[in-house]
Assembly symmetry: C4
Homo-oligomer: 312 residues x 4
C-alpha cells in the first residue's frame, strides 16, 4: 500500500463551468442550493435548533409546551375532567378545561402538586405516559439548551476590507483578524484560496489557488493577526490588475482554524472577500499600543477595519 | 528512539488466504463474524441503543417503563396496597393493584402527585429507593436520548455504480459522492483500497493497494465530488480486464473522512464496490447547474447515480 | 521561528538509574508511586468515580443517598417533626424520625408527594435548600452515570505471550491483538518501546528503543493483528539472547491507538510484556477461517493466545 | 493548489514595537487588555461560570435561586396569596408572603409537594410557566455543574525556576515539569518560545525563536520531565549574558500539550519564565528513587523546584 501525495480540491472545481454567482457568502457559507432530495435529508433538526436565535428558540419552546399541554388537556377533557379529582379542601375557581390543561403542565414538568390528580384508570394511564414523555422531551431540551449555552463560538472577527498595500517594492494583499474574547486561541492556521476564471481549452473555468502567505500559522492569537500575500512573480495574481478582478470572478475564500482553550476543542471559521471589498493603496492602522504605565498592551477591537490611504 | 516509516496494513492482510466472501458490505461494515467470546464482550449496549431505529428505541423504553412499574407494583401489592394511602377527599375507582402500578409510575418519574402516597415504613422505604432508581435510570435515558438526537451523521451519499470512463487516452475508475445536508463538510479526504487476489508462492492471496487518485483531498464539499483513479501503467489494475475482476475477488473499499462543522467533530464513512457494481464505458451526468438568475448554483442530489454510456 | 525535529523520550529516561521494578504493569499503568503532594492533587474524584466497578459505584450512591437523608432527617427532627405536617386524611404508622427521613428522600429526589410537607418557616426554608441541593447533586450523578455508560472502551485484547518465531532465516518477536467488539476500529497504530539496561559510563542505565515493525499501521482492525519485529542486525536485540533478558531488565511497552467509530473518538490502550511472558520457538495458530458457505470470515476471539511450538 | 510551508508566528510579532510589559503572565495568560468592543463580545458567560472558584459558583447559584424565587413570590403575592390554596388539613404558621416564596421554590425545583398549590387561573398559569423555566434553568446548571466536575485539568506543575546548568562544556537552560495526578499523560510535546528585543532597522523590536531542545516529545509522563535547551553556537542566546536578559526583555514562553487518558482529550498548558526566575550555575536535585523493596519507583512531587548550586 503505497503512500501517495495527491492534489487538493477546493470543492468547487468543475470542468463544465456550471457554477454561478459568488462561491461563498461573506459569512463563509457556500452559495449552493440543494435540490432533488428529501427535505429531511438536507435539513438537520439538531443543527437548526442549535443555531437558531435565542429569541426564536424560547418562542419555539413556549409554543411547543403550550401545544403539547393543549393536546393532552383535550384528551383528559374527553376522558372526563371529573376523573381528575380536585382536593376537596379548597374550592377551585378554574374551569374544567383549564384544570385539565394545568394538570397536564404539572405532569409534563413532573412538578405534580397533586391538588389535581388522576382518580380513574384512564387518566392515571394517560398521565403515567405523559410524565414519561415529559422526561424524554426534557432530556432532549436539557441537552440542547446546554449545548447552545456551551457551544464553541470562535467569533473571530475579520477586517471589512482586504487591502492592496505597497510592500517590498511591489504589492501585497492583506486582511486582518482578531479574536475579541478574553480567552486565548492557540495553534491558529489560515488558508486563503483564490478562485479565478482562467482559460481552459475554449472555456473560462474557475481555478483555485492556495495563496502563499508571509506566515500561515501562529502559535497563539493574543493580538490581531495581519495575513499577508505578497504578489510575487509566481503569484497567480502577478499579471492581473485590480480592475480585472470583477470580470475574472475573483473571490478570496478565507479559512481559519484554531484551538479554543475554553472548549478544549478546535474551532473553524470561514469568510470571503469579493473584488468590491478590496481597497487599493491602503494600509491598516495599528490597533494595539502600550498602556500608560508601560506594563501591558492594549488592543482596540473596534479599530480592526481602520486603514489609511497611502501614496502608490 | 529512532523514527521509522513502516508499512500500512489493510486489516484484512493474511498469508493463509483464510478470508472468504466480500470483505466489506456495501455499507462499509466488515463481513466478519466474531466467535469464541462472551456475548457482552462483543456487544456494546451503548452502541446498540445509540444506533437502533427510533421506533425500536421508543418501544424499548415504553416496554421497560411498563415492566419496571409492574415489578414495583407487585412488590407494593405484596407489602400491602393499604400501606399506600389514598387521599380521602376523592373516591378512587381504580383497583388496588392499579393504584400500586400508578403510584410506582408517579414515583419513578418523580411526578409524585401525592394522592397515592406511602404511609408505612415498608412502602416509604421502597418508594425512596424507587425514586432514586428513577433518577439514575433517567440519567442514562436522558443522556442517551440526547446523544441519539445530537449524533453526528455524516450521511455522505455514494453513487450506486463505479464507472470505467475513457480518460486521457486510457481508462479511469470513477465514483462520486455528495453530502446532502445544508451544513458544510470541510477538510475531506478519501482513500480507495483495492483488494485483489495475486499469486504469492503457490497460493492466490488477497493483496491490498491504496489507489493513486487525481485528488484525494478537498478543502470543503459544497458540491458533489467525483473521485478519479486513472489506470496508469503503474496501477495494479493496469493489465487486468474488467472480465477478470470477479475471478480475482476484486473489491474497492472506500474510506472518507471529513470535519463536520455542525458537530465540531470529524466524521468517517465507508463504502465498498464489487465487480458487479462497475459499469464500463460510461460517464456521470452533471448534477449541478446555474440558477436562472445566474446568482447561485443548484445541486441536484437525486442525480448522484445518473450516468450515460459513451462510445469506447 | 525554525522548525526542529527533536528526540522523543519514553518518559522513563534517566541518567541516574533511580527507577526500579518493571516500568509498566501488564495492564499498561506506570509502576510509579507519587508522594509529597496533597492527596487531592494526585487524585481525581472524577477519574475515580468514572472508573470504579459498577458494584462499588452503586453501593457508593446508595450509601451517600442514605447518609445525606440521615443528615437532613436529623436537622428536620431537631427543628421539630411536628413542623412537617402529615395529611390528616390517613393515619401514618411511621415514627416521627422516619417521617423526617422519608420526607428528606422525597425532597432530595424532588418526588415531593406532599403527604409529608413543611408547615413552618424553618422546615420550608430547609426543604427549599434541600431540593436545590438534590438537583445539583443529581446533575453530577446524572452526568457521571451517563459518562460511565457511554465511556469509550477500546477493549483491545492482547495475546498472553510474546513469541520468538523463526522468521526470514532469523528470529522475530511477535504478539497479536484483536478487538472483540462488533464495531470497527480504524486508523490503528502500534508502537513497541523496548526498555533495556545498557552500559553508559560505568553505570547500567535503562535505554529506550522504538522497535522497527513489519507494519505499524492498519487502516482498520476487522480481524486480529499480528505485530512483528524482525530481529535484524540493526535491532537493539540483535546480539542479546533470551536468557539475558531478565538480567538486562528487558521490558516491552506496547502502545496502541485507534479511532473508535462507536464513540467518534480516538482510543488508546497500553500493555507490557516481561521476559517471563516470552515463548521461544513458537508461532501463533490461525484464529480466523472461512465459514461453511464460503461467504464470510469467522474470527475466533478465544484463540487469541493459542500457539504451537516449532522446531528451532 | 500548491502546498506551501510557511513561517509560524508567535502571535506577539509586531513591526511597531507597540507591546509593553511581559507578554505572558506566569500562569501563561497573555498580558493584553481588550478594549473597544462590547463587553459581551469579549466575555464568555460559559467560560466564566466554568472557571470561577467552587465557592463563588455555589454562592452565585444560591443567590440566583433566592432572587428568582423572590421575584416569583412577589408576583404570586400581587396576584393574591389566597389564590395559592393551603391544604386545610394542617394549619400553617408561615406568613402569606413566605408561602408564596416557598411555593415558588417548590415549583422551580419541581418538587411540588402540593400543600401549597395554585387554585386560580392566574397562579396556575404562572406556576406552569415557572416550572418550565425551572427545567430550562436547571438544564443549563446541570450541564454546567457536570462540566465543572468533569473538566479536563492538566494540572502540570512547573519548577519555580529555570536553571542555567553547566552542560557539555557550555551552558544549558533547564526547567522541569511533572504531572501530579495518578492517571497518565501520553503523547506529550513541549515548545519553548524565546521573546527577545533585537535591532531591526533603527528600532529594538521583539523577536521570537522556538528554542531547539534536547528532546521535545515524550511518549508518556510517568515521572518528571526535565526540558533542556543547550546554548549551542547557533542558539539565539549564544552571545548574550544573563545580565543582559532584563534589558533585552527576555521572556520564555512554555507551551505543553499532552493527551489525558482520563478525559480522552488533549490538554494544553502554558507557563512563562522571566529573567528574574533564572538561577545561574545550578542543577535540579533528583526527585525520584527506588522504593525499599526495589520493586517500584517513588516520585516526590514536592521536590519539583529543588536545585543545588554548582561550581561554574
Amino acid at each position: 500500500m503505497a503512500e501517495v501525495q495527491q492534489k487538493v480540491l477546493s470543492g468547487f472545481d468543475t470542468n463544465t463551468g456550471n457554477t454561478a454567482g459568488r462561491l461563498f457568502t461573506a459569512g463563509g457559507q457556500p452559495n449552493v442550493e440543494r435540490k432533488g432530495t428529501n427535505f429531511l435529508n438536507r435539513f438537520s433538526i439538531y443543527h437548526t435548533l442549535l443555531n437558531m436565535s435565542f429569541r426564536k428558540y424560547i418562542i419555539l419552546i413556549l409554543f411547543s409546551y403550550f401545544m403539547i399541554n393543549l393536546l393532552f388537556a383535550t384528551i383528559y377533557f374527553i376522558l372526563g375532567a371529573d376523573k381528575l379529582g380536585l382536593d376537596a379542601s379548597n374550592s377551585c375557581n378554574s374551569s374544567a378545561f383549564s384544570n385539565c390543561f394545568f394538570f397536564s403542565a404539572q405532569t409534563l414538568t413532573t412538578v405534580g402538586y397533586g391538588r389535581i390528580s388522576p382518580t380513574a384508570f384512564s387518566t392515571n394511564a394517560l398521565s403515567a405516559f405523559e410524565s414519561l414523555l415529559g422526561l424524554l422531551l426534557f432530556s432532549v431540551i436539557t441537552g440542547l439548551s446546554y449545548a447552545r449555552f456551551a457551544k464553541p463560538e470562535s467569533k473571530i472577527m475579520f477586517s471589512k476590507n482586504m487591502l492592496l498595500v505597497p510592500y517590498k517594492g511591489g504589492k501585497a494583499l492583506m486582511f486582518r483578524m482578531v479574536s475579541p474574547t478574553d480567552h486565548l486561541l492557540t495553534d491558529a492556521e489560515v488558508i486563503i484560496t483564490l478562485a479565478i476564471l482562467e482559460k481552459r481549452g475554449d472555456k473560462m473555468l474557475p481555478q483555485f489557488y492556495n495563496l502563499t502567505l508571509e506566515s500561515n500559522k501562529a502559535t497563539s492569537l493574543p493580538l490581531n493577526w495581519t495575513v499577508v500575500h505578497f504578489i510575487a512573480p509566481d503569484s497567480p495574481l502577478a499579471n492581473i490588475g485590480l480592475e480585472q478582478f470583477e470580470a475574472l470572478h475573483v473571490e478570496f475564500l478565507i479559512f481559519v482554524k484554531a484551538y479554543d482553550e475554553n472548549y478544549s476543542n478546535h474551532v473553524q471559521q470561514r469568510a470571503s472577500y469579493m473584488p468590491t471589498d478590496i481597497v487599493d493603496n491602503a494600509k491598516f492602522k495599528p490597533m494595539f499600543y502600550r498602556n500608560e504605565e508601560g506594563t501591558s498592551t492594549i488592543l482596540e477591537i473596534n479599530k480592526l477595519s481602520d486603514y489609511t490611504l497611502v501614496q502608490a
